[in-house]
Amino acid sequence: MDHDDLNRLQWRCTRRALLELDLILGKFLAEEFPALDEDDKRVFAELADMEDHDLWPLVNGTEACDDARQGRIVAMLRKSGVRQPL
C-alpha cells in the first residue's frame, strides 16, 4: 500500500460513526496492520469499508462472523485492547 492508500484507510478507520470503532480500528492500523500480508491487509480494508452497525457487533462479539477470511481479522480486532484515547 502506498502513502495515499494508507492515509485513505487511516481516515476511514479513524473517522467512524462510533467512537468504539475509531479506537479499535485506529490502534489496529497503527500497531498490527503493518505486519499483515497483502491478502490480510485487503481483508482488513474490506472490514473497514463496512457500516459501523454491521462491523461493531462482529468486533464486539454479539454477532458471529460467517466469512472465514474476515473472521480471522475480526478475532485479532477483538483481542486488540484500547486503554487510552488515541
Binding site: H3, D4, N7, R8, Q10, W11, R12, T14, R15, R16, A17, L18, L19, E20, D22, L23, I24, G26, E51, D52, H53, P57, N60, G61, T62, R78, S80, G81, V82, R83, Q84, P85
Partner: protein, 591 residues
C-alpha cells in the same frame, strides 16, 4: 491566487441527520444542492444515537405537545428559548410521521402504530408522571434514521461531496454569506462552493474534552468557521456529561447497566450514591450522578493509582444475566478497560456527551446576531446550532428531534428566502480565499512549530481538568490562562507530511484549528457565568434558599455570546414568550 469556483443554489456542510433532512427539502424543491461531508453520510455520528426521537403522538397513552414543551423548558433550566421550544414540540409529530413515510423502520405496537417508550424527563400533564413519548427503532434509531434520510436524498438527486472538508465561510463586506471554501482530501484541491444559501449541520465538538463519548469526527468544524467569520458562539459553557464513560477511552456504558442493578463504588467499595440520592441511588438523573462521582474523586475517594475514577460494579449479578440482559457490555469492558466485569468492577468517569450551545439561530434556522438581525445567506441546524431548544441541559431523545425539526425548517426558510432574492449569484468579494490560503500556507511553511497531537492533548486535558462536570472558580481562572497559552501553540502547529493527496496530517491540523476555538469559547463562557444552571455547576454557586440549585435568574437568565475577536463576551435575553401559549413561568428545577 485564484481557486476553482463551483456554483450551487445551496451548499450544506455536514451529512448527519440535520444536513440530510435539510437537503431533502432543498433538492425536492428543485434547488441545485451540494452536501459536503468529511465522511460517507451514513458514517456520520448521528448513527451513535440509540435512545429514540420524542414526539407527542399519544400512541401508547394520552400526550400533548404542550406537555412536551413544558418538559423541555424545565429540562433546559429555563435557558431554552420558548418560541423555539414550542415550535419544535409542535412540529415533532409531523416530522416523525414524515420520517416513517421516508421508510424509517420504527418499532410498532400490536395495532401497527409507532411504539413509544418512556425516557428520562418526559412527563405527562406538566410534570406529573412519566409518559411514553420516545419513538425508536430498537437500539439503532440514529442509524435507521440516517439510512432513511440518505435514501430519500438519493431519490431527490442531492449531490454529495464525500471526504471533503469545509475550511472557511465566504462572507462579503455587507456580512452576507456566499458559500464556503473546501478541501477535497483525495486530491488536496481547494475549491470555493459559491452558493446563495449556506447551511451548517456540522455536529458538535465533543472532542475538546479528554474524556468524550463522541467519535473522532466531532471537531466543531462549523463552530470554528463561524467564529473565524466574526459570528459569535452562544451558550458554550453548557455541555452534557454522561456519568458512565469507560475511564480513559470514553466509550459509553449504557444507563441500562445501572438499570439492571449495577452499583457505583468508590475506593472503599462504598455505594456512595446512597449518600447523594437516598431514594434513586445509582439511578438518579445524569447530572446528579455525575456530580456525585466527581465529588468522590475530588475528595480523594477515587480508585486506581491516580485516584481518578470510580467503579461500576456488576460482579454481584449472575454471569448469565450480564450476558443476556447487557449484551456487549462485557466485551466493551474487556476491550476498553482490560476488565472482565464478571470478575471485577468497571472503571468509569463522567464523560462529555453533548454540546448544548452553538451557532446562534432562530427557530427558522437563520443565523442571528446579537441584535436579532439575521446573517443573510447563513443557516444552521442540529448540534452545531443553538436555537436554543436545549438551553442549559438537553432532554434525552430531543437531539434527534432537533435534527429533524430544524433540518427541515432551515431548508424551508432557504426556499422562502431564495424566492425573494435575485436569480443571479451575488458576486464573490475580491480576495475571498486569501485568509484560507494563508492558513494553509502557514501550515505548509511552519518550522519548529508545535506537534498537533500533543497540543490537542494538552487542550483536552485542560478542558477536562478545569472545565469538567463540576466547576471551581480558581480552576476556571487558571483554565482560561492555560487555554490562551495553548492557543498560541495552536497558531504554530507543524506537520511533517507536506503531500497534497490524502494528507490526513493536514486535515487533522485543520480540525484542531476548529477545536481550539470551541475550547476557548467554552472555558471563557464558563469562567464568566457565576451561577449554577443545568449542566453548568459551580462549587461557588451552591444550592441555597435564595438561589435554589445555585441558579441566579436575576443576574444570569441570559444567553452568553462569545466572539473570537478579543475573546469578547456579551449577553442577550432568553426568549420567554412562546409563539402561541402562555410563558412557562420560572421555577426551581427538581424531579
Amino acid at each position: 491566487m485564484s481557486i476553482p469556483v463551483r456554483k450551487y443554489d445551496a451548499v450544506i456542510v455536514g451529512a448527519g441527520g440535520a444536513g440530510l433532512r435539510a437537503a431533502i427539502q432543498l433538492s425536492e424543491a428543485g434547488l441545485k444542492t451540494a452536501v459536503l461531508s468529511k465522511v460517507f453520510p451514513t458514517r456520520s455520528h448521528t448513527v451513535a444515537a440509540q435512545g429514540g426521537v420524542s414526539a407527542s403522538l399519544g400512541n401508547s397513552e394520552e400526550d400533548h405537545w404542550h406537555w412536551h414543551m413544558y418538559d423541555t423548558v424545565k429540562g433546559s433550566d429555563w435557558l431554552g428559548d420558548q418560541d423555539a421550544i414550542e415550535f419544535m414540540c409542535r412540529k415533532a409529530p409531523e416530522v416523525v410521521v414524515e420520517l416513517e413515510h421516508f421508510g424509517m423502520p420504527f418499532d410498532r405496537t400490536d395495532e401497527g402504530k409507532i411504539y413509544q417508550r418512556p425516557f428520562g424527563g418526559h412527563m405527562s400533564n406538566f410534570g406529573e408522571k412519566p409518559v411514553r413519548r420516545a419513538c425508536a427503532a430498537a437500539d439503532r434509531t440514529g442509524h435507521a434514521m440516517l439510512h432513511a434520510l440518505y435514501q430519500r436524498n438519493v431519490r431527490a438527486q442531492t449531490q454529495f461531496f464525500v471526504e471533503w472538508m469545509a475550511l472557511d465561510l465566504i462572507r462579503d463586506e455587507e456580512g452576507q454569506v456566499l458559500g464556503v471554501i473546501a478541501l477535497e482530501m483525495e486530491t488536496g484541491e481547494v475549491v470555493a462552493f459559491h452558493a446563495k444559501a449556506t447551511i451548517f449541520a456540522t455536529g458538535g465538538a465533543g472532542r475538546i474534552f479528554y474524556s468524550s463519548t463522541n467519535a473522532f469526527i466531532n471537531t466543531g468544524d462549523g463552530l470554528g468557521m463561524a467564529a473565524r467569520a466574526g459570528i459569535p458562539l452562544e451558550d458554550m459553557e453548557f455541555w452534557q456529561f454522561h456519568p458512565t464513560g469507560v475511564a480513559g477511552a470514553g466509550v459509553l456504558i449504557t444507563e441500562g447497566v445501572r438499570g439492571e442493578g449495577g452499583i457505583l463504588r468508590n475506593d472503599k467499595g462504598e455505594r456512595f450514591m446512597e449518600r447523594y440520592a437516598p431514594n434513586a441511588k445509582d439511578l438518579a438523573s445524569r447530572d446528579v450522578v455525575s456530580r456525585a462521582m466527581v465529588t468522590e474523586i475530588n475528595e480523594g475517594r477515587g480508585c486506581g493509582p491516580n485516584k481518578d475514577f470510580v467503579t461500576l460494579d456488576i460482579t454481584h449479578l449472575p454471569p448469565e444475566t450480564i450476558m443476556k440482559r447487557l449484551p456487549g457490555i462485557r466485551e466493551i469492558s474487556i476491550q476498553f478497560a482490560g476488565i472482565d466485569p464478571i470478575k471485577a468492577p468497571i472503571p468509569v468517569v463522567p464523560t462529555c456527551h453533548y454540546q448544548m450551545g452553538g451557532i446562534p439561530t432562530n427557530y427558522k434556522g437563520q443565523v442571528v446576531l446579537e441584535d436579532g438581525a439575521t446573517v443573510a445567506g447563513f443557516y444552521a441546524a442540529g448540534e452545531c446550532a443553538c436555537a436554543s431548544v436545549h438551553g442549559a441541559n438537553r432532554l434525552g431523545t430531543n437531539s434527534l428531534l432537533d435534527l429533524l425539526v430544524f433540518g427541515k425548517s432551515s431548508g424551508d426558510t432557504v426556499i422562502e428566502d431564495l424566492a425573494s432574492m435575485p436569480k443571479a449569484h451575488k458576486e464573490l468579494p475580491a480576495g475571498f480565499a486569501d485568509r484560507t490560503l494563508a492558513r494553509l500556507g502557514r501550515l505548509e511553511s511552519q518550522k519548529d512549530g508545535a506537534d498537533v497531537h500533543e497540543t490537542r492533548l494538552a487542550m483536552q486535558r485542560t478542558m477536562q481538568n478545569h472545565c469538567g462536570v463540576f466547576r471551581f472558580k480558581d480552576k476556571l481562572e487558571e483554565g482560561v490562562r492555560k487555554i490562551l497559552d495553548i492557543e498560541k501553540q495552536a497558531a504554530q502547529t507543524q506537520i511533517k507530511d507536506k503531500s497534497k493527496v490524502w494528507n490526513t496530517a493536514r486535515v487533522e491540523a485543520l480540525e484542531f484549528d476548529n477545536l481550539i476555538e470551541v475550547a476557548k469559547a467554552t472555558m471563557i463562557c464558563a469562567e464568566a457565568r457565576k451561577e449554577s444552571r443545568g449542566a453548568h455547576v459551580r462549587d461557588d454557586a451552591p444550592d441555597t434558599p435564595e438561589f435554589p440549585n445555585g441558579r441566579d435568574d436575576k443576574e444570569w437568565l441570559k444567553h452568553s455570546l462569545w466572539y473570537r475577536d478579543g475573546n469578547k463576551l456579551s449577553y442577550k435575553p432568553v426568549t420567554l414568550k412562546p409563539l402561541s401559549v402562555e410563558t412557562i413561568a420560572l421555577k426551581t428545577r427538581s424531579y
